[in-house]
């Protein structure tokens, strides 16, 4: 038997409208690079990355899905096994933001009840084209008690942080809540970081 090279395995899922940058986010996280030359995702794609959290090696198995309605029957079958879901919209595309509600409903219907969720407003480097304000993102996240962050796969803003926080939330849940370390699920991007401030305002 091959030796296990990790302590825990977390399955994550990226969903959201087509063209919001799901594949780019994943590529930034797994290969630390950015390219605009991505073909559209058909069906489902897959990447792995091992991270270290609290002294534990965690293998993240991340599924990247196609955004268009046609692929929902294929993609919703992955919801069930997911322990964490990242819901992505594009801050320059109001429609993709409005559809967040639809995607949340999809999660309710198909995912495990205790799945950890996070909303990402991507492309925050494109300040001149922004149509969704950061407050709008924060508000919808607060309404649904979900974590929220603005990200940029291009400028590498908050990508790693997003995956780490989602993984951490799952870790805490699986380990059972640790005393003296309260988990505030309503945390909505409370810690302002320099990176996000310089880029996303």
């Amino acid at each position: 038997m091959a030796k296990k090279t990790y302590d825990l395995l977390f399955k994550l899922l990226l969903i959201g409208d087509s063209g919001v940058g799901k594949t780019c986010i994943l590529f930034r996280f797994s290969d630390d690079a950015f390219t605009t030359t991505f073909i559209s995702t058909i069906g489902i794609d897959f990447k792995i990355k091992t991270i270290e959290l609290r002294g534990k090696k965690i293998k993240l198995q991340i599924w990247d899905t196609a955004g268009q309605e046609r692929f929902h029957t294929i993609t919703t079958s992955y919801y069930r096994g997911a322990m964490g879901i990242m819901l992505v919209y594009d801050i320059t595309d109001m429609k993709s933001f409005e559809n967040i509600v639809k995607w949340l409903r999809n999660i309710d219907e198909h995912a495990n009840e205790d799945v950890e969720k996070m909303i990402l407003g991507n492309k925050c480097d494109k300040a001149d084209k922004r149509t969704v304000s950061k407050e709008q993102g924060e508000t919808i996240a607060r309404e649904h008690s979900i974590r929220f962050m603005e990200t940029s796969a291009k400028a590498n803003v908050n990508i790693e942080r997003a995956f780490n926080e989602l993984a951490e939330a799952i870790l805490l849940k699986t380990a059972g809540k640790e005393p003296g370390d309260p988990v505030d699920r309503v945390t909505v991007d409370r810690r302002p970081t320099n990176t996000s401030k310089s880029c996303c305002n």
Binding site: A2, S18, G19, T36, T37, F38, I39, S40, I42, G43, I44, D45, F46, K47, I48, Q61, A66, G67, Q68, E69, R70, F71, H72, T73, I74, S77, T92, D93, A127, D128, K129, T131
Partner: protein
């Protein structure tokens, strides 16, 4: 020389008054020569766009090309010029709920267009072809108002604004943001058109003419190789009409594979699920060990073969290899049976790695198929298709 002999075989065949389609299929199955416009011509025959009778080609082509011009006029040029002159509002208004309202159609079209626009701009990004200007832009469109250029209808226009930053005691800093440099897939200037804009128009017209189906992501990957083959035809008299010819060939091809794209037909006997089941059954026959390994890992065919089948493998290989694979797929007498064998061959060729691998490494391998001589895959597929009966009998 073998290649020359092959060319001659095609030459002889294509000079016949009535082309023997069976022979054409047999020859094309082994690969159509890249030179002398053979591929675009053979594909037009194999996709039933051109009839086998040579003397009817001229008439057939001119009729179809005329018809295509008419489609453009009716569905793009006229609505486009109305938009730019504000004419759509005549006796009609954007909030009109009447289904016949032109505004309603306009908005609905733009929704489809938005999706197409996103996808054609990311078509075959590893080659520069689609970003280059075509020699033959559609004159009715490039020399007119912006409303006729499809992408301009869905450009997200944002009101210009200044970022106002307040610092300390009322000192304000106003920063005007300048636009970024043009992206690679930027539309061309007046009078010019990039190949991706042409593909956008083909897909838009297809969606308009097939409203029940519309546009589904991935159709761009089907039209791409056909358009590339036609728009690089050595014969200028064909190259000039690449757009119209491609539209009809794409339409014909879609009539055979459209079920893969329709969600409600997923479960039908020509839908994508049935195709994936057939692949899995074929794998069981060809390589029981790998099949068992997949069972054990719970590695389902939709994880890797959904894209393979829906896109006829166009995202798995570099374009020249895709063209070669399609030569065989289009010549398949029981069309798209051979596709299953090719998919199966791809798996069988990787069997040693797959039998050793775990779930993630296997899935990674299948989703990023290693580069190899495509002939190896095709030969394997032929071998599997021929040994099937034999194996079935002995089991």
């Amino acid at each position: 020389m073998a290649y020359k002999a092959k060319l001659k075989e095609f030459d002889d065949l294509l000079q016949q008054d009535i082309i023997d389609l069976e022979t054409l299929k047999t020859l094309s199955f082994r690969g159509i020569p890249d030179d002398q416009s053979k591929r675009p011509l053979c594909w037009k025959l194999l996709l039933n766009y051109l009839p086998p009778e040579q003397n009817e080609w001229k008439k057939c082509l001119s009729e179809k090309r005329e018809l295509y011009k008419h489609f453009i006029k009716e569905m793009i040029v006229i609505p486009g010029s109305k938009e730019s002159s504000g004419d759509v509002t005549m006796g009609d208004h954007p909030l009109n709920i009447n289904p016949d309202s032109e505004w309603q159609t306009f908005f609905k079209d733009n929704e489809v267009l938005l999706q197409i626009d996103k996808d054609v701009r990311r078509l075959c990004p590893d080659i520069s072809f689609f970003q280059q200007p075509t020699e033959f832009p559609c004159k009715d469109i490039v020399n007119g108002e912006d409303g006729k250029r499809l992408h301009s209808r869905v450009q997200r226009s944002v009101l210009k604004c200044a970022n106002v930053e307040r610092k300390g005691l009322g000192i304000t800093k106003i920063a005007l943001l300048s636009k970024k440099a043009n992206e690679d897939y930027a539309p061309m200037t007046e009078g010019k058109e990039a190949h991706w804009e042409v593909v956008e128009r083909i897909l838009f017209l297809y969606a308009k003419l097939n409203p029940g189906q519309g546009y589904v992501q991935g159709m761009n990957e089907i039209v791409g190789p056909i358009y590339h083959a036609f728009a690089s035809d050595a014969d200028i008299s064909f190259r000039e009409h690449a757009e119209a010819d491609c539209f009809f060939c794409f339409t014909n091809l879609m009539s055979e594979i459209r079920d893969f794209f329709i969600k409600s037909l997923d479960e039908s006997d020509r839908g994508i699920n049935e195709m994936m089941n057939r692949l899995l059954n074929q794998l069981k026959v060809c390589d029981l060990d790998v099949w068992l390994k997949f069972q054990q890992l719970d590695l389902k065919p939709q994880y890797y073969s959904f894209r393979w089948i829906t896109l006829l493998l166009s995202q798995e290989f570099p374009l020249p290899d895709v063209l070669r694979i399609w030569d065989s797929l289009f010549s398949d007498k029981k069309r798209f049976n051979f596709l299953i064998y090719v998919c199966c061959a791809m798996i069988v060729i990787l069997r040693n790695q797959l039998l050793d691998g775990d779930f993630p490494s296997n899935l990674k391998l299948l989703q990023n198929f290693p580069s190899m001589d495509v002939q190896i895959i095709l030969s394997k597929a032929v071998e599997l298709s021929q040994s099937r009966c034999f194996k079935m009998n002995t089991h």
